[in-house]
């Protein structure tokens, strides 16, 4: 083997293996953390609401900022934050919309849950019967709240109960 060939073989082999190893490790480690983060593009979805209407995220974000609130009837913080959210919502929601995405429960359970709250909810409750949206957003704990701006970009995310201040902060970042 000529000296130059030898150099090419050595350098080439080492760099190729290092590159493939790096790529493999990247793909491997990325696998476990495919959550939706701030700065990501929000996945578009179409769901039916409790009232039987159909809502699509991309249509809403054309005009308004959107706050997605993933919840379930068994989740205690959800029960506590939802009336707060409703009060803020009723102060005016011309430039934003709240969608409370229920994670795969039947309408009977949801209606029963809402009737047990201190006030009726005026924002739409979206039904995700087979968790397809919950999976697409890789939702872990409930409640998880995500703010999406008019460009369809995730701008804020919180994985625990919201205070009223938090709710205002979410609205602000979604309409900016």
């Amino acid at each position: 083997m000529k000296k130059s060939t030898r150099k090419v073989v050595r350098t080439g082999t080492i760099i190729t293996i290092a590159a493939l190893l790096g790529l493999t490790l990247y793909l491997n480690l990325r696998d476990g953390s495919q959550t939706v983060n701030v700065g990501d593009e929000a996945v578009d979805f179409k769901l039916e609401t409790l009232d039987g209407d159909e809502i699509q995220l991309s249509q809403l974000t054309d005009e308004k900022g959107v706050i997605l609130n993933f919840w379930g009837t068994w989740c205690k913080p959800c029960r506590e934050e939802m009336p707060d959210m409703n009060q803020v919502y009723n102060e005016g929601h011309e430039d934003y919309e709240i969608i409370a995405v229920n994670v795969s429960e039947n309408p009977q359970q949801i209606s029963q849950f809402i009737s047990g709250l201190s006030e009726d909810l005026d924002y739409p409750i979206a039904l995700d019967p087979n968790r397809s949206v919950t999976k697409a957003y890789n939702i872990g704990p409930l409640p998880t709240t995500i703010a999406i701006n008019k460009d369809g970009e995730v701008v804020k995310k919180q994985e625990y109960q919201l205070t009223k201040e938090d709710i205002h902060a979410f609205i602000e970042s979604s309409v900016e």
């Binding site: 050595r10 080492i14 290092a18 493999t24 996945v43 979805f45 379930g72 029963q112 949206v133 697409a136």
Partner: protein
């Protein structure tokens, strides 16, 4: 004009070694002259006859000087010690990986850290944190495999290239000392028979290279390439295991479908859906009159002969956004049994297990104060209960509250559930007979009146469980690489182990005929082959140096 260049061409490297016997220029590190086989470094190691011939005495490049960082890395990994070290670490890690169950064996949905800590204490926690629970995809195991690949390639190139060169450039003419140094050698006074003897060896499938009265007979050279073929197989195997990490190459997912349920097939982006039409378990007949009857009866449980899920396979016609209801078109119907998966595209859908632990429905009846049952029984579907049940023309039961996994009663009277899964259902029923309403709370094994002096009683009759089939979805595009790699590995192993590389040198120049022989394995067989031919010419048998040594020692 360019004397300097010419000079360099002649003297390529100042460390090159010119053979004192034949004048051949050998690269630095050479032990035996590539041309005539004279020993270059007399002090190398006089005892190690075999070692010297392993790479035909040519320089193993890693043992020469190193310069750049790449040379240093390369030389480090060409070392057999390093290679064996990496293999040892991989083997030990794989062994440790079998102490506790891997993560895909723990219950579905359990938090791995909690599970291992609870089950195995601190050791379990460390085991999980160090990545042993998912050994094959832990970062350091992947890294070790990468280093192994580098070690295999570096070691093979550094030894294979010089070996190839020296085997390609073999000459028939060898120095006298080369003959004396071979394990099998002898010399004879009679030179006239040389061509005939050579002819006999050629009949034994030896290939001849001739240079005047110098002969080289060789067969089974392929044997020397065994390890390199073997290594190629290993590299392909490692590439296959690497490919599994690439998106879309490897899928191993669980599909959980209750009877009658249609679920989307994971990793197909909502393109395919599968419906569990029915799930059946067949058991062996204990009275079938076969020889197995007795052992079937001895078994306390039923012996299962077949698990089967009848499925309908659908393709989604609307490539629409997430969450929108799919427009399904039936593609196929199939009965999935153990070892009979449903195959579509590159996927296989296997029968894995079943689950009947989830409650499906509860049936109740209504009694009046005298204990008489009124009307029909009513069944509450726990996943999607009705709001109202008509018992008789006059009496109806309304469900006022339902908790699938009852936790407590809220201040405002609603039931609070701990999880959305119906494991501990509780209901508030309102019996309405047109005149008055009575409320009662029903739980498993318990019934409480909410209103005073209830006339009616709701009694539990029976519960039914869901029958759910658990299927595994598999796809492995890396499998052909793994299989090819393994087959090549075995071929290499076979070639290296069962083929002998035999060479015989004959020098019939002058008055004496020198014969020497070398093989990479099985000297006994070679000796026998040669002696048969030599005896047929009434020549003395070959002398074996090693045999003589052990004799003189004894």
């Amino acid at each position: 004009m360019n004397t300097k260049d010419n000079n360099e061409e002649v003297k390529e490297n100042k460390n090159d070694i010119t053979c004192s016997h034949c004048g051949h220029v050998n690269p630095p590190g050479t032990q035996l002259c590539q041309s005539c086989g004279k020993m270059i470094n007399e002090n190398y190691d006089k005892k190690k006859i075999k070692d010297l011939m392993r790479y035909d005495g040519s320089a193993v490049r890693s043992k020469v000087k190193s310069k750049s960082i790449f040379d240093k890395i390369w030389n480090f990994f060409t070392s057999i010690k390093v290679g064996v070290g990496i293999i040892a670490i991989i083997a030990i890690a794989a062994a440790i990986g079998t102490i506790l169950p891997q993560e895909y064996f723990i219950p579905i949905g359990a938090d791995p850290l909690e599970h291992y800590t609870e089950q195995y204490g601190t050791f379990g926690m460390l085991y999980y944190k160090l990545g042993f629970t998912q050994l094959y995809s832990s970062w350091w195991f992947v890294l070790l495999n990468g280093l192994l690949a580098l070690s295999i390639i570096a070691a093979s190139v550094d030894r294979g290239v010089p070996l190839y060169k020296s085997l390609k450039n073999q000459r028939a003419k060898k120095h006298d000392s080369f003959f004396r140094r071979q394990r099998l050698n002898n010399n004879y006074d009679n030179v006239s028979k040389a061509p005939e003897i050579v002819k006999s060896f050629e009949n034994k499938k030896y290939k001849l290279t001739q240079d005047g009265n110098h002969y080289l007979l060789e067969k089974g050279r392929l044997s020397r390439w065994g390890p390199y073929i073997n290594h190629t197989g290993l590299i392909i195997l490692l590439i296959g295991s690497m490919l599994r990490f690439f998106p879309g190459v490897y899928v191993d997912e669980i599909i959980y479908a209750q009877e009658g349920e249609t679920v989307s097939v994971p990793t197909t982006n909502g393109k395919y859906y599968v419906k569990n039409e029915s799930f059946t378990i067949d058991t062996y007949d204990e009275e079938s009159g076969t020889v197995f009857d007795e052992s079937l009866q001895n078994n306390m449980e039923m012996t299962i002969s077949n698990f089967q899920t009848d499925i309908t396979f659908y393709e989604n016609q609307t490539a629409d956004v997430v969450g929108s209801s799919p427009e399904l078109e039936e593609v196929d119907k199939y009965s999935i049994r153990v070892n009979h998966p449903y195959v579509f595209e590159d996927y296989q859908l296997y029968q894995s297990s079943y689950d009947n632990s989830q409650m499906k429905s509860m049936t109740f009846r209504l009694e009046d104060s005298e204990g008489n049952t009124l009307g029909d029984n009513f069944t509450v579907e726990l996943d999607d209960p009705e709001d109202s049940y008509q018992i008789t023309e006059d009496v109806s039961i309304d469900m006022r509250a339902y908790a699938p996994d009852f936790l407590e009663i809220d201040d405002n009277g609603t039931l609070i559930t701990a999880t959305p899964v119906p494991t501990n259902p509780a209901f508030v029923f309102e019996v309405d007979d047109g005149e008055k309403q009575e409320l009662s709370l029903l739980q498993i094994m318990n019934s409480t009146d909410i209103t005073q002096d209830n006339e009616y009683n709701i009694r539990f009759v029976e519960a039914e469980d869901h029958m759910a089939s658990v299927l595994t979805l598999k796809k492995d595009l890396a499998m052909p690489y793994m299989a090819a790699g393994f087959i090549i590995f075995l071929i290499g192993l076979f070639i290296g182990s069962y083929i002998n590389h035999r060479r015989i040198w004959i020098n019939a120049e002058g008055d004496t005929m020198n014969i020497a022989a070398h093989t990479n394995k099985n000297y006994y067989g070679m000796k026998k082959e040669m002696n048969t031919i030599l005896e047929s010419y009434e020549f003395e048998a070959m002398k074996d140096k090693e045999e003589e040594e052990s004799n003189s020692k004894g």
